[in-house]
């Protein structure tokens, strides 16, 4: 999968940016504040229909502009022009080869990108919700049934919470909602379990390549559904649900903990170990798309030399050189350093100054 053209209009700090691409590796360099990360974000936006770095779409529209647009030409089993328009006060629009998609969700599952960025540290230190949404994002792109169940599940839990907050709690209504939650939650849980089984050896493999250490990597997937059915869980949590007026059973309560040598990474991991783990996790994500969808996603490396540290960036260069990656976009402040990286990967490259 490759991008051959990229146009940004009023997207974040870019009034009108056009990049023509004919290389495997694109190095984007410029001073801080020039909008290097925004270019990577635009590519991610085109792939999955939302920003990697900004919480809302509105934040991606330039100040005083009414709308922002991104156009990309993809080569992925054919040529695809993907156009994304963000307008204030309106729903975002995605067009594929001139045809508007009815929903943004319909866009998922064709174009893939994996971002490695300094903010990924949140995956370690942030709340469980961050890790859940990371794996949901992966599974939603590769499995439409997962996405459908997830959307439905979230709405059903919202409805269930509304019943628990009402003055009169109708148990038959709770049951009617649980009847629908049961198949969804079973599917979501089993797919999350399968994903971790798939990911753990891959994370370990990449971690070993990136780090000189011999630590054993693990992921603890703690879910009530590991040992009990949804029915059993709701029965156990019935009083708690009534007292707290919200649903305490289901995959929205799943906990995901990253582990190193049997201990919590966020508590006991060194800064170096955490950085290596994060890159390994993202490369495992990359490999997951390769194996499940038979595509080579776009790899977007944001500021890895500055924030992630040179030693690990060089180790990553080795991984990239030896493994068979698709197109890579990398941002950095220094032209010399980025050029050295591009050369070291032994792939065709181009440099873009911002």
């Amino acid at each position: 999968m490759k991008i051959t053209k990229l146009n940004l209009n009023f997207f974040k700090n870019h009034d009108a940016l056009r990049i023509d691409i004919d290389s495997d590796i694109v190095g984007i360099y410029g001073l801080n504040g020039k909008g290097k990360t925004n270019v990577l974000d635009a590519i991610h936006f085109l792939c999955v229909g939302k920003s990697y770095f900004s919480g809302t779409d509105i934040q991606c529209i330039q100040h005083e502009a009414e709308a922002a647009g991104i156009i990309g030409i993809f080569e992925a089993e054919g040529t695809w022009e993907v156009k994304l328009v963000l307008q204030r006060g309106k729903r975002k629009k995605i067009e594929k080869n001139g045809k508007a998609l009815p929903r943004v969700l319909d866009h998922l599952g064709q174009f893939f990108s994996v971002v490695i960025a300094p903010g990924d540290i949140e995956l370690i230190y942030g709340a469980n919700e961050k890790r859940r949404s990371f794996i949901d994002q992966m599974l939603s792109q590769t499995d439409k049934t997962y996405l459908q169940h997830l959307v439905k599940y979230k709405k059903l839990i919202e409805q269930r919470n509304a019943v628990l907050k009402s003055d009169y709690i109708d148990q038959a209504l709770i049951q009617a909602l649980d009847d629908q939650i049961t198949p969804a939650v079973k599917y979501l849980h089993s797919k999350r379990q399968e994903l971790f089984q798939f990911l753990i050896p891959l994370i370990q493999r990449f971690y070993d390549q990136l780090s000189k250490g011999r630590e054993e990597i693990g992921v603890d997937y703690i879910s009530g559904l590991n040992d009990s059915s949804y029915d059993e869980l709701t029965h156990q949590n019935r009083r708690k649900d009534l007292a707290l007026q919200r649903s305490n059973s289901g995959v929205h309560k799943d906990e995901i903990d990253f582990v190193i040598d049997g201990q919590a990474l966020k508590k006991y991991g060194s800064q170096g170990q955490i950085k290596s783990f994060l890159i390994a996790l993202k490369l495992a994500e990359y490999q997951y798309y390769v194996e499940t969808m038979k595509v080579k996603p776009l790899l977007l490396l944001d500021d890895i030399f500055e924030k992630i540290d040179t030693e690990r960036a060089l180790a990553l260069t080795e991984v990239i050189k030896n493994a068979n990656f698709g197109q890579i976009f990398i941002s950095d402040t220094e032209q010399e350093r980025i050029e050295k990286f591009c050369k070291a990967t032994e792939h065709s490259y181009q440099l873009e100054a911002l």
Binding site: K144, T145, Q148, K152, K155, L156, E158, Q159, R160, A162, V163, S166, Y168, D170, A172, L173, Q175, A176, L177, D179, Q180
Partner: protein
């Protein structure tokens, strides 16, 4: 519209005004099924040829018209007037579910057919009614869902297609 009415013969306009007045004053809801009616019972509930032991549950009176147009159904109806949506503050008591339960208790109902939309609110309402009514020993069925007649397979959404495959039927002579 006003200019058009003024151009027409006076008698015609006055007749329309009287018809509108009658519609506003006479049309009400059927006391049994909550369909539109010009009497305390609607024409379906009053008809001796309709099967009163089978009730089709719908959301609106428009759904009654749609099903009547098929000329394939000979039972009675029950119009809920909405669907359960706790997030919007609509519970079972806010639509005509208690009246449905009373109706089943009072009349000899053998089967109810759930004909609600295939949305989450529609499904929740169906599951709720099914639970309540099954406890009362009444058979519950729901409309079959899947590919529409004349629909192209490649344009059918995945959920409908999956349901059609799951609920496939044997071809017989």
């Amino acid at each position: 519209m006003v200019l058009n009415l003024l151009k027409r013969p006076e008698g015609e306009t006055l007749e329309l005004a009287r018809a509108l007045e009658r519609m506003r004053l006479d049309i009400r809801f059927c006391e049994q099924c909550f369909n539109l009616s010009d009497d305390h019972l609607c024409s379906v509930c009053k008809s001796p040829s309709r099967d009163e032991h089978t009730i089709c549950i719908v959301k609106d009176f428009q759904d009654v018209i749609a099903i009547e147009n098929t000329a394939q159904y000979n039972g009675q109806y029950h119009v809920l007037g909405g669907l359960i949506s706790p997030v919007e503050g609509i519970g079972p008591q806010d639509i005509k579910i208690p009246q449905l339960i009373d109706r089943i208790k009072e009349k000899e109902v053998n089967e109810i057919i759930l004909a609600l939309s295939s949305t989450m609110e529609g499904d929740t309402t169906e599951f709720y009614i099914a639970r309540k009514v099954t406890e009362m020993g009444v058979k519950v069925s729901t409309l079959s869902k899947g590919i529409s007649v004349g629909g192209e397979l490649e344009y059918t959404d995945e959920i409908s297609l999956a349901r059609s495959i799951k609920n496939r039927i044997e071809m017989k002579d």
